[in-house]
């Protein structure tokens, strides 16, 4: 028997508190999937009221049903394709004028609808009060006053949902005659108009009709607001407070100083805080592997678990602290309203590199991990700016490069220059990301006009619940998607490194005679001009899946025991010499060459998978891999050949 689940859509403007309401109604019972065909996330959650199960779909925030970005297209598509049992329309009371534009459009679809009037306290702080029963009769649908962050008004919404006495709005706001030249008289309704608009290429006349439609709606809205909103005594005025704060935070000079300070604090916290749990996880898994191995050192199953499965799992979990903290910062900047100010301050600079102000945060997030950073480019409305942002992100110094950098730097760079070298590598990432963006901007043609028309929301205190749920969702998504991948690769690499072709059969062997070694020796001629021996070649191959594997592979190759500390590893690597010449393998020339190689090569399968997913074609994943690989090879080659003579 088919389960009878009732479907509810959540629709509203961006920053209207839609997600807070979603979190309040569904709690932690959420899942995120992708809409078929598009890369936009479909946020769903289910909940029970009595014995009835409900499924709530949180549609992306938009201002009207004529979409401007991939995210916004989802809303009109869902409305046309799926008929929900109920639409909960979330309106920001302090910005009722704009909320009602979208409301009247959605109401004209003639589907069951109710309005949740959110942030009533903010309206009151502006010295205005809304009469809910007047609004109900003007809109022809039930209206619930609510403050979704503080759970105020949620009960009455739940009661309404249980009653399931849903009906469409009693009123129609649009003017049908506007569309009469395009639709047959039997089909003369707003939904058919949108179907028509979607099916025909845009032209000046249709655009003009859309504009007239919107202005007519606004005229009606003005009279609705005049009837329902009245002035009262002013209390704390958030709008005023925001404007005063923006005098500094958006100032043409001071604004940048505050921006630098805030970003510095954000990223400093990110790196320092993430370090603790990462070290604990790392040593915890190290002990676990050691313990399992010691149970019975002859059992090949236990070796498999301790050398392949556990490192694989730890390779996934080690990223969780960073991803969690990254999303903490991200949600905080977004919910507090500061993100819009970052866009404002940096849009002009970013445009010179083919991107927009909205690219700043994804790029900065790339300093932690490219995978969530690439996923967060969806809000960028123009295709070209979004594509360039995605392709530039892998240049940023992600956290997986860090262990490689620190190891190599401590081997080949004199102590007094070590900090400076690390800093230069970060700067190198930023410079090349921008340079790449500049080159792409000149070479990708686009007839799509880029624009930036964005609301500046008032400053608000973010809610803990929203932050927590966002983090949880991001972590779960990462473990599911990247997790499978990293564990599989880790198992394959273990197989390659511990089996080899001996006596016409595949046999367990040490790494010197393994498949990995033969791969390393095969590519040795190609990497010799860069100053690498075959062991480094093996590490290059194994770290193709994920850069940080470089360190553990070298550990294995140079026979450094499990108990080895970083110090002994550095000593051991420093003492490596070429058998013929007795010259050290890791010297300034080969070290710098390796650092440059890792700075540029796109050695991360998960990032490639993310690029493929977000651009919807293999083309850009392959192009960026090849471009970055050739840049890595060339720069490593030049550095080695030049430094070797010094």
């Amino acid at each position: 028997m088919e389960r009878n689940i009732r479907n509810i859509f959540l629709i509203g403007n961006p920053n209207s508190g839609k997600s807070s309401l979603f979190n309040q109604l569904t709690g932690l019972n959420q899942k995120i999937a992708n809409y078929p065909g598009v890369t936009t996330e479909r946020k769903m959650g289910s909940f029970y009221l009595g014995k009835q199960e409900y499924e709530l779909v949180d549609l992306p925030g938009c201002y009207s049903l004529y979409p401007n970005s991939i995210d916004e297209k989802v809303v009109i598509n869902e409305l046309l394709q799926n008929k929900p049992d109920l639409i909960l329309f979330v309106a920001d009371a302090s910005n009722l004028y704009r909320s009602l534009l979208l409301y009247t459009q959605v109401a004209d679809f003639n589907l069951p609808i109710a309005m949740v009037l959110n942030m009533v306290d903010e309206l009151e702080s502006k010295g205005e009060v809304v009469n809910a029963s007047f609004l109900e009769s003007e809109l022809g649908c039930p209206v619930f006053l609510c403050n979704s962050k503080k759970r105020k008004g949620i009960d009455s919404i739940q009661k309404y949902i249980i009653g399931s006495d849903f009906h469409a709005s009693m009123k129609i706001f649009g003017n049908k005659q506007l569309f009469s030249n395009y639709l047959s008289s039997s089909n003369l309704n707003y939904a058919s108009w949108h179907e028509y608009v979607q099916g025909t290429p845009s032209n000046a006349i249709v655009e003009n009709i859309k504009r007239i439609e919107v202005i007519e709606r606004y005229n009606k809205i003005e009279s609705i607001i005049a009837l329902t909103v009245s002035k009262t005594q002013k209390a704390f005025n958030r709008q005023r407070f925001t404007e005063k704060l923006d005098k500094y935070l958006m100032h043409k000079y001071y604004g940048f100083i505050f921006l630098l300070l805030i970003l510095y604090v954000v990223f400093q916290t990110l790196f320092t805080l993430a370090q603790f749990p990462m070290t604990w996880l790392d040593s915890g898994f190290g002990y676990m592997a050691h313990f399992i191995n010691n149970l019975d050192s002859k059992s090949s199953w236990l070796t498999f678990i301790s050398e392949a499965v556990i490192p694989g799992i730890s390779g996934v979990l080690i990223f969780i602290p960073q991803i969690a903290l990254l999303f903490l910062m991200n949600t905080f900047l977004e919910e507090s309203g500061y993100m819009a100010r970052i866009v404002f301050l940096l849009d002009n600079w970013m445009r010179r590199f083919g991107m927009s102000g909205k690219s700043v945060l994804p790029l900065l997030s790339g300093n932690a991990c490219a995978i969530p950073a690439i996923a967060s480019t969806k809000a960028i409305p123009t295709h070209k700016e979004r594509l360039i942002t995605i392709l530039c992100i892998p240049f940023m110094t992600c956290s997986a490069r860090l262990p490689v950098y620190t190891l190599l730097i401590s081997i080949v760079i004199p102590l007094e220059f070590q900090g400076l070298s690390l800093l230069s590598l970060y700067a190198l990432g930023v410079v090349f990301a921008m340079l790449f963006g500049w080159i792409l901007n000149k070479n990708i043609s686009s007839n799509e006009k880029s624009f930036l028309i964005m609301e500046l929301p008032p400053y608000r205190l973010p809610s803990f619940k929203n932050i927590y749920i966002n983090i949880k969702n991001a972590v779960v998504a990462f473990v599911k998607v990247a997790g499978k991948f990293i564990v599989t690769i880790s198992i394959v690499l273990w197989f390659l490194a511990s089996f080899g072709w001996q006596n016409q059969a595949i046999q367990k062997t040490n790494i010197e005679t393994s498949f990995a070694a033969s791969i390393g020796k095969t590519i040795e001629p190609a990497i010799k001009p860069l100053g690498y021996d075959w062991k480094i070649g093996v590490a290059l191959v194994t770290s193709f899946a994920a850069r940080e594997v470089f360190v553990s592979t070298l550990g294995m190759l140079y026979n450094i025991g499990e108990e080895a500390t970083e110090r002994t590893m550095i000593e051991k690597m420093k003492s490596q010499v070429y058998p013929q010449t007795q010259l050290p393998v890791f010297n300034l020339a080969s070290g710098v060459s390796l650092l440059l190689f890792y700075a540029f090569a796109l050695q991360c399968m998960s990032t490639l998978a993310a690029i493929k997913k977000e651009t919807d074609t293999f083309k850009w994943a392959i192009i960026s891999f090849l471009l970055m690989a050739s840049l890595a090879y060339t720069s490593a080659f030049i550095a080695f050949q030049f430094l070797k003579k010094c």
Partner: protein, 78 residues
């Protein structure tokens, strides 16, 4: 009053929208509440006046110079 573009208004000066030069983003401007007859006031500028922040119908928006140039206003004296 002489018509001018939104870019020519100084910080804090109020203008009344008298026309929009047709563009790909005109519909978006209308949706955000910028159309004939509405009042609009620049509130913050970046270094090159691109983008700018404007106050319109009780809320604030940021616009690039290109968008601002397509908005024709007359200055309105308080």
């Amino acid at each position: 009053m002489l018509p001018m573009t939104l870019c020519e208004l100084e910080k804090g000066e109020m203008g009344i929208v008298i026309d929009l030069i047709q563009n790909e983003f005109t519909l978006k401007l209308v949706e955000m509440g910028i159309y004939k007859g509405r009042t609009i006031t620049p509130t913050e500028f970046t270094l090159l006046k691109d983008p700018i922040c404007v106050s319109v119908s009780d809320s604030r928006l940021m616009l690039r110079k290109e968008e601002a140039k397509s908005i024709i206003v007359t200055k309105c004296d308080l």
